[in-house]
């Protein structure tokens, strides 16, 4: 029998004193492609990182590569989060930075990033085109990293992984932020890789998987447990619903009949047109779904509403009845809006703790710079209780599982009971149970007179309250319609 590709025996791993992996044994043989799923926070990513050599536990971890293979003898781990630095080597970005234009480049362009990668890994550019093409990245070559949307960042990570074709490829949450078409293409690529001998390990609870996946497992009490199929994976128990805190059961004061009014909106960066001729009116109390492929301009459109985009001043936009650029400050605007977006999450203060982060929502700041009054403290505590976050209130947000992090940001967003909620892919990276809970909270919140703009890729997992839909395609509004059929 040949050596297993991955041989792990008696692996132990602890994070800050807590046991994550406990005497874990696992072997991956040639021809096997694994899916690791199961409950959030069970240690899936930790195991993946150990295999990739990014975490050190105790015990045996051996990787046996094939010596005479055209594939590089490498383990590549694609994390569920993307990271890049600016040209000066630091990571101090703010989430609005991609909209502020400076002549001095802050980050590498996509092309320069890929060129550096090719040099480091000894790759040939000839093989790259097909991946760029299939992920529709050809036009983005000259784009700076800071300007990419979250979905585009995910694609760039995947392009690099597919290009390298390592002998062992581990992808943590491969589908996060990808639209339907991209997911399908990606699965095709995974199958192609498996066919040439790349061994895959996917960490996800997704159901639409590449055909090559032939082993399923989850982590249970620190050890790996093989199951028969993706359906057999454990799911997080659905959460007990508690009543919404009273202060959120009050309808927010609606500042105007028309919350957002946009006329013939155009946004372009140099020659690149991002938004073209968009007309959109959002009235108080309406619940909108905003959809579109990756890079279709959704986040840019929303940034015009949240006061984060300088080109708002050059367009015909009125917010809460007041034209933009007529003496209002962005803080006047933000006061009335609650926002979550993948970018806000990604760039969020890495030193923030749960309680302080929620409190900062009163002031729309990243970081808490003021004393919080007794009344406000009570509201924070009620929300912590509602989201079952009281136990972790003093923890760094970054040390929580992704699903909990997102709940903290939702709590931060609604703490001031804003009139307009903008939820840009709020469930990105959450599994079905977490998403269902999240959407149920959104539905309940919106029952109390809020206006909602919700961005989501999946028709299957959306809040029930949505009633109108706009679809963007390459920066243009393709569909604006009432949503008749019940989506749930």
């Amino acid at each position: 029998m040949t050596d297993p590709v991955v041989h792990i025996a008696q692996l132990n791993l602890q994070y800050a004193g807590e046991v994550v992996l406990d005497q874990l044994d696992w072997q991956v043989f040639r021809g096997e492609c694994w899916l690791i799923g199961g409950k959030s926070g069970s240690g899936k990513s930790a195991l993946a990182k150990v295999v990739a050599g990014l975490e050190k536990g105790t015990g045996t971890v051996e990787i046996n590569f094939i010596r005479h293979s055209s594939l590089p003898p490498r383990v590549l781990y694609v994390s569920n989060w993307y990271e890049f630095t600016n040209l000066e080597g630091d990571r101090n970005f703010y989430y609005q930075q991609r909209y502020n234009k400076h002549q001095k480049n802050d980050t590498l362009t996509v092309y320069a990033e890929l060129a550096a990668y090719a040099q480091a890994e000894g790759l040939s550019f000839g093989d790259l085109e097909k991946y760029l093409d299939l992920f529709e990245f050809i036009d983005l070559k000259g784009t700076q990293l800071i300007e990419l949307s979250s979905g585009e960042h995910k694609k760039l990570q995947l392009i690099k992984a597919l290009w390298l074709q390592p002998q062992l490829l581990i992808v943590d949450e491969p589908y996060t932020g990808l639209d339907k078409a991209s997911r399908k293409k990606l699965n095709g690529f995974f199958d192609d890789l498996a066919a040439v001998g790349v061994q895959l390990v996917l960490v996800t609870n997704e159901q639409d998987l590449p055909a090559c996946i032939n082993r399923f497992a989850e982590i249970d009490k620190g050890n790996i447990k093989q199951v028969d199929s993706v359906q057999a994976l454990s799911v997080d128990a659905s959460r007990n619903r508690k009543p919404l805190p009273l202060f959120l059961q009050e309808a927010p004061v609606s500042p105007a009949e028309v919350m957002v009014h946009m006329e013939n909106i155009h946004v372009r960066y140099g020659d690149k047109v991002v938004l073209k001729g968009i007309d959109w009116t959002v009235r108080a109390g309406e619940k909108w779904l905003l959809q579109g492929h990756n890079g279709s301009g959704k986040s840019t459109l929303l940034s015009l509403i949240t006061g984060d985009h300088p080109q708002a001043y050059a367009n015909n936009i009125a917010l809460f009845g007041q034209p933009r650029g007529s003496g209002e400050s962005i803080w006047d605007i933000k006061e009335r809006i609650g926002i979550i977006s993948p970018e806000l999450h990604w760039y969020f203060d890495k030193t923030a703790r749960v309680w302080q982060a929620i409190a900062s929502g009163f002031y729309d700041s990243i970081g808490l710079f003021r004393q919080v009054s007794y009344e406000k403290q009570q509201k924070i505590n009620q929300l912590l209780d509602f989201f079952e976050l009281t136990e972790v209130k003093d923890r760094l947000i970054t040390t929580l599982p992704l699903g909990k992090q997102r709940l903290v940001l939702l709590a931060r967003t609604i703490i001031k009971n804003p009139a307009l909620l903008i939820l840009d892919e709020p469930c990105q990276g959450l599994d079905h149970t977490q998403t269902a809970f999240f959407n149920a909270v959104v539905d309940e919140l919106c029952g109390f007179g809020k206006t909602l703009i919700y961005v989501g890729h999946y028709e299957t997992q959306l809040p029930n309250c949505l009633e109108k839909k706009m679809v963007l395609e390459k920066g243009e509004a393709k569909v604006i319609e009432e949503m008749n059929e019940v989506v749930c």
Binding site: E88, G89, Q96, H102, D308, P310, G327
Partner: protein
């Protein structure tokens, strides 16, 4: 034009040097109202110009940019910066006559010619704003008597001014009104409103004067901020190479070490920085820094004296007139130093290691901060002003070294600071030559604690702690830092 400061009687010199009032946030309750609906025209659109303008506009103010005709015709970067962000851009002739407030955010060197071009176009009773007082104080520029002259000086690079604003905070800021130009008495209200517009009011504002700002700013940047960090980096690196430490390691220890060490300084002053060392290392660092202070004190005093007398700006302006000959020569020489040319090695250095292996650097930074502060205060500058221009800015400059060494530091700082930095560096290195012969790798390059008994004498430690904690820079720092606690950590490592 005569040096403004030198035209003043001593009484008035002391009076203006002594303006330093730390303002309470309640003094900014009027927000931006003093500038609401007024037309703000910014001259220049580099890092400060663009980022201040973006903030002012996002605060609900009316901002446009006046650029020289050539900059517009040739579509230079300043033109692109402004138009890409959808500001109105026009020539001086088009925009200045409409302005209620003209903000001059061009480089120091251009101030005189910019003001000569702009002043005749300004409308009666308008306001002229600066972010640095060199033109008024050192060049002695006289502004038309109907014009109000104010200063709003964010104590951070332009990119930080924007980043901090968008997180809902701001950067520490100095504001001032020029006593010769406040005919309507509106200067302070407008300076405060401008400061609110940039977000500065949330991070601690010091009311200063043009004179106090210039004399302290020049002193800080020449000595502790840029000059001393440059000298310290080069001496540390050269010593390690001489003693056989791996060049890649030495390069990394210095490049990132200044940032890691001064991050502790930023959060808790010299006390916190020294507390990162073991007790024996702290005592050693204290002794070394006392010795360094004795050696360097005359040099710090000379810099302060030349700044006060105007001798410094006179010689620098001579170099301006001479096509920056000296400056360019020194800049090239800095690029050729071994430290600059040795890339940081691919070695992991732990956060604590940056302290334990660089006791000399800690001592040197302590000596520099304290000396700069002491010398400024002795010269009549108030402790609050001295703090901003010494301890407060040190981590910001150290961050530029972490990014791309001395080249980056000297690129980011103003030409004025860079000129002063080289002056200091060239005088300081020979001054320390004998001392450096006594330095070994126990205090730079290797772990000071290694192989040593960590025991200390109680009385010695108590005395050292007492001396560190009661230094005047620590007293004023404790008060000022309270307003700045929310400043985020700068991290490159």
């Amino acid at each position: 034009m005569a040096n403004y400061f030198n035209t003043l009687p001593l009484r008035e010199q002391l009076n203006q040097l002594g303006v330093a009032e730390f303002m309470d946030i309640s003094e900014f309750a009027d927000g931006v109202s003093a500038l609401k609906g007024k037309k703000i025209v910014i001259v220049g659109c580099g890092a400060q110009g663009l980022n201040q303008g973006l903030n002012l506009r996002d605060s609900g103010l009316d901002v446009s940019y006046a650029l020289r005709k050539e900059a517009i015709e040739q579509k230079r970067d300043s033109w692109k910066n402004a138009t890409d962000n959808h500001f109105t851009v026009g020539t001086y002739e088009e925009l200045i006559p409409t302005a209620d407030l003209v903000s001059n955010l061009t480089p120091d060197k251009q101030h005189s010619s910019v003001i000569d071009a702009v002043m005749p176009l300004m409308k009666e009773g308008a306001t002229l704003s600066y972010s640095h007082g060199f033109n008024i104080v050192e060049e002695g520029k006289e502004i038309r008597k109907d014009i109000t002259v104010i200063m709003v000086a964010p104590k951070c690079p332009g990119s930080e001014v924007r980043a901090e604003y968008l997180r809902g905070f701001g950067v520490p800021t100095l504001i001032a009104v020029h006593p010769e130009n406040d005919p309507q008495g509106k200067g302070l209200a407008e300076a405060k409103a401008y400061c609110v517009g940039t977000g500065g009011h949330k991070a601690g504002v010091l009311r200063s004067s043009f004179v106090a700002e210039v004399k302290s700013d020049l002193m800080g940047e020449q000595t502790i901020l840029c000059g001393l960090l440059q000298t310290g980096s080069i001496l540390s690196f050269d010593k390690m190479i001489e003693k056989g430490i791996d060049p890649g390691y030495a390069s990394k220890l210095v490049q990132y070490g200044v940032e890691v060490i001064t991050e502790a300084l930023k959060q808790g002053g010299i006390t916190a920085m020294m507390d990162r060392l073991s007790n024996i290392a702290k005592i050693k660092a204290f002794e070394v820094s006392e010795e360094l202070k004795d050696i360097m004190r005359p040099l710090f005093q000379k810099h302060q004296d030349d700044i006060m007398s105007g001798e410094f700006s006179r010689t620098m302006m001579e170099d301006w007139a001479n096509g920056d000959k000296q400056l360019l020569g020194w800049r090239a020489a800095t690029g050729e130093t071994a430290f600059e040319k040795t890339p940081a090695g691919d070695v992991k250095i732990g956060e604590q290691e940056y302290f334990d292996h660089a006791v000399f650097m800690v001592s040197y930074i302590k000596a520099g901060v304290e000396l700069a502060f002491e010398t400024m205060v002795e010269a009549g500058i108030k402790p609050e002003s001295a703090y901003y221009e010494s301890l407060h800015e040190t981590p910001l400059i150290a961050n530029t070294i972490a990014r791309k060494k001395l080249f980056e530091m000297n690129r980011v700082i103003s030409d004025t600071a860079e000129y002063g930095c080289y002056l200091f560096d060239h005088a300081c290195k020979p001054l320390l030559a004998d001392f450096m012969k006594t330095v070994d790798t126990d205090i730079i390059g290797r772990n000071f604690n290694e192989g040593k008994d960590l025991a200390v004498d109680n009385q010695t430690l108590i005395a050292v702690n007492e001396a560190i904690r009661t230094h005047p820079v620590e007293k004023v720092g404790a008060v000022l830092r309270k307003a700045m606690t929310a400043m985020k950590a700068i991290k490159t490592v």
